[in-house]
């Protein structure tokens, strides 16, 4: 079976030290990253801040232009698309952002925010679009009557539902969820996660799920990839990764997970950053690859 999304040797360099005293040069945020996601998967991408996970997610959609590498979505060569074809392709590839407070235009009514992608893609008449917006509101658990309100009238969890409604408006098959619940209150996070899972079932979505909450990743993802300093250091089926981590960084990361047993002090495994080497991934078990 061909994967839905196939990313090979993705590289992203950002210019470094620009500005008045800039030295030129560049920083490699994503360094030779390869992975493939099958239809229907929830593929987790974990790593610390600065590891390159968000940049990887944005490169896949070309919200950030990759420096080199190959991105194939179904039959499409994403990197070869013209600006116009890319806009077309974005019907199928969408994103839910981390911060529901800054991701919504504060001056637009939330119904217009959800309708905007339909207008851009010239979908339906005004009437049809309005009824689609109402349907989307219902689908994400919001009252269609609230479509005339402004973002500030909604709580964080409701705003994230609006962000989700916008992302699924064009019936995409693939959605990058970039830390979709980390800005939300604990009791609201579960609601939004369940919404994403329900929508996946109903609409047949495939997710690239970027997160730093390892418990959440373990709960919702089918496979998990670990990033460190722009490199993928490990990919494995979720339970395998959590029970048999192979890369020393993954072991350190998992050992830092807080337990919910009071007083229990887990033995933490330190990671010596100076020992890090940019190695290629190699198979350590079926479906389990590590840069060791």
């Amino acid at each position: 079976m061909t994967p839905l999304l196939d990313v090979r040797h993705l590289v992203k360099d950002f210019p470094a030290g620009t500005g008045l005293f800039g030295r030129g040069g560049s920083v490699r945020a994503v360094d030779d990253v390869s992975f493939a996601i099958d239809a229907g998967e929830t593929f987790g991408l974990v790593g610390e801040s600065g590891s390159g996970k968000t940049t990887t997610g944005r490169c896949v959609l070309r919200l950030v232009e990759p420096t080199s590498g190959d991105i194939r979505f179904k039959e499409m060569d994403i990197r070869a698309l013209s600006a116009r074809d890319l806009r077309h392709a974005r019907r199928h590839l969408q994103i839910v952002f981390q911060d529901p407070y800054s991701a919504l235009n504060p001056r637009m009514r939330v119904g217009d925010i959800v309708e905007e992608p339909l207008i851009i893609h010239r979908m339906g008449s005004r009437e049809e679009r309005r009824s689609r917006v109402a349907e989307l509101f219902t689908l994400v658990g919001l009252d269609p009557a609230d479509a005339r309100r402004l973002p500030r009238e909604f709580s964080g969890g409701q705003r994230q539902r609006i962000g989700v409604a916008r992302a699924i408006a064009l019936n995409p098959s693939f959605v990058v969820c970039d830390e979709p619940v980390s800005a939300l209150d604990v009791s609201v996070q579960a609601q939004v996660v369940n919404l994403l899972l329900d929508l996946q079932q109903r609409l047949g979505l495939t997710y690239l799920f970027i997160a730093h909450d390892l418990r959440l990743v373990r709960q919702v993802c089918t496979r998990v990839a670990v990033m460190y300093r722009g490199r993928l250091v490990e990919i494995a089926p979720t339970e395998r990764l959590f029970t048999e981590p192979a890369h020393p960084y993954t072991k350190a990361l998992l050992s830092a997970m807080p337990t919910l047993l009071p007083g229990q002090k887990l033995e933490r495994i330190p990671y010596d950053a100076s020992s890090f080497q940019a190695l290629p991934l190699k198979g350590v078990a079926s479906g389990h690859f590590a840069a060791v």
């Binding site: 209150d185 604990v186 609201v188 909450d213 373990r218 709960q219 919702v220 350190a252 830092a256 002090k265």
Partner: protein
């Protein structure tokens, strides 16, 4: 640990902090909050945004932002009510008796001063040492918070440090005047998992070394499990449950606490999570009864009428919920079994 028997270092008694709503009414961000912290003890204060946990901390050091104000209650530090102090008196308490660590160390450090001089300044401001002695003490403190190469780092500016190192510097600053109590408000929330674990280890060691009392404010029950001796859970300005940490995790009694614990991922076969329906009420939008009632699947007839009082379910374990038994808290002898 054995329950402390001496008088508490800090005692909040029916603290109430209010904000005007603009229509003449006032809303309580902190409502009827009573709690104690003994010497060497860590109290975890848990809640979501808007629960009043940070406002409780700001009330203790009397830094409630205007137009908010402390309306009633007592805040006793070593038996002295901080609400009776004048501006000069409370300044002497801040930093000297009570140190603070905030979530965003970047915002709390002065960007144009080296970290060594910021710590030395704090030491000098409290007349503990001056000049070269204060600077030497600053380096010692950086060493105590495990900043590598402290003498060199003392000459650096905040922007030269990583997030984890900045938080260590923040902790060194909080300890500079050798306070009895440290209030840490989401001290590890902005940090990566491995750095968070290191900072929690550090706080645990410093607590033992300096015999510190800690008021640890967090939304993260994992941090509470790792650090706290006792836990108070806040919801909509009130403490809804208060228990020793083992007890709270083993036998949470309030439906909100039960819900918060249940919705942590990784506790049941996936992928769906247990969720609490609804949203945290906004300040000034409280119903007449229990603030959690609109989201509670166990609400019954009295819940919508009057907020429940805090009642003891067993020694050291209290909650504000009609499920605790009697509708009136005093109907049961204190310390009685549920």
């Amino acid at each position: 640990m054995t329950p402390p028997t001496d008088a508490p270092l800090l005692r909040l008694d029916r603290l109430r902090t209010v904000f005007p709503l603009g229509d003449g009414r006032e809303a309580a961000a902190v409502d009827d909050v009573s709690l104690t912290i003994h010497r060497g003890e860590t109290l975890g204060l848990v809640g979501e945004s808007g629960s009043g946990k940070s406002m409780t901390a700001l009330s203790i050091i009397r830094l409630v932002p205007a137009p908010g104000r402390i309306a009633s209650g007592r805040i006793d530090l070593d038996g002295r009510n901080l609400l009776d102090l004048d501006a000069r008196g409370i300044r002497a308490v801040r930093g000297r008796r009570i140190g603070f660590v905030f979530q965003e160390p970047a915002a709390a450090l002065n960007p144009v001063l080296t970290i060594g001089s910021q710590i030395a300044e704090t030491i000098a401001a409290h007349d503990l040492a001056r000049g070269a002695a204060a600077r030497a003490r600053a380096v010692e403190l950086l060493e105590a918070v495990r900043v590598p190469d402290p003498a060199r780092r003392a000459r650096e500016y905040p922007h030269q440090l990583s997030g984890g190192l900045k938080q260590r510097v923040m902790i060194a600053l909080a300890l500079a005047a050798e306070p009895d109590l440290v209030i840490a408000d989401e001290p590890t929330t902005a940090l990566d998992a491995t750095v968070q674990a290191e900072v929690l280890d550090l706080l645990r060691d410093l607590r033992a070394k300096f015999h510190l009392s800690l008021l640890l404010i967090t939304h993260d029950l994992g941090v509470v499990a790792a650090m706290a001796d006792r836990v108070a859970v806040m919801y909509a300005g009130r403490i809804v449950e208060h228990a020793p940490v083992d007890r709270l995790f083993a036998a949470p009694a309030h439906p909100y606490t039960q819900g918060l614990l249940a919705c942590i991922p990784g506790q049941r076969p996936g992928p769906r999570l247990a969720a609490i329906p609804g949203v945290v009420p906004a300040l000034g939008h409280l119903t007449a009864g229990c603030a959690f009632a609109p989201r509670c699947d166990r609400r019954f007839e009295p819940c919508d009428r009057t907020p429940p009082e805090s009642a003891s379910i067993e020694p050291g374990h209290e909650m504000r919920c009609y499920l605790s038994g009697g509708a009136t808290p005093l109907a049961r002898p204190s310390g009685g079994r549920a």
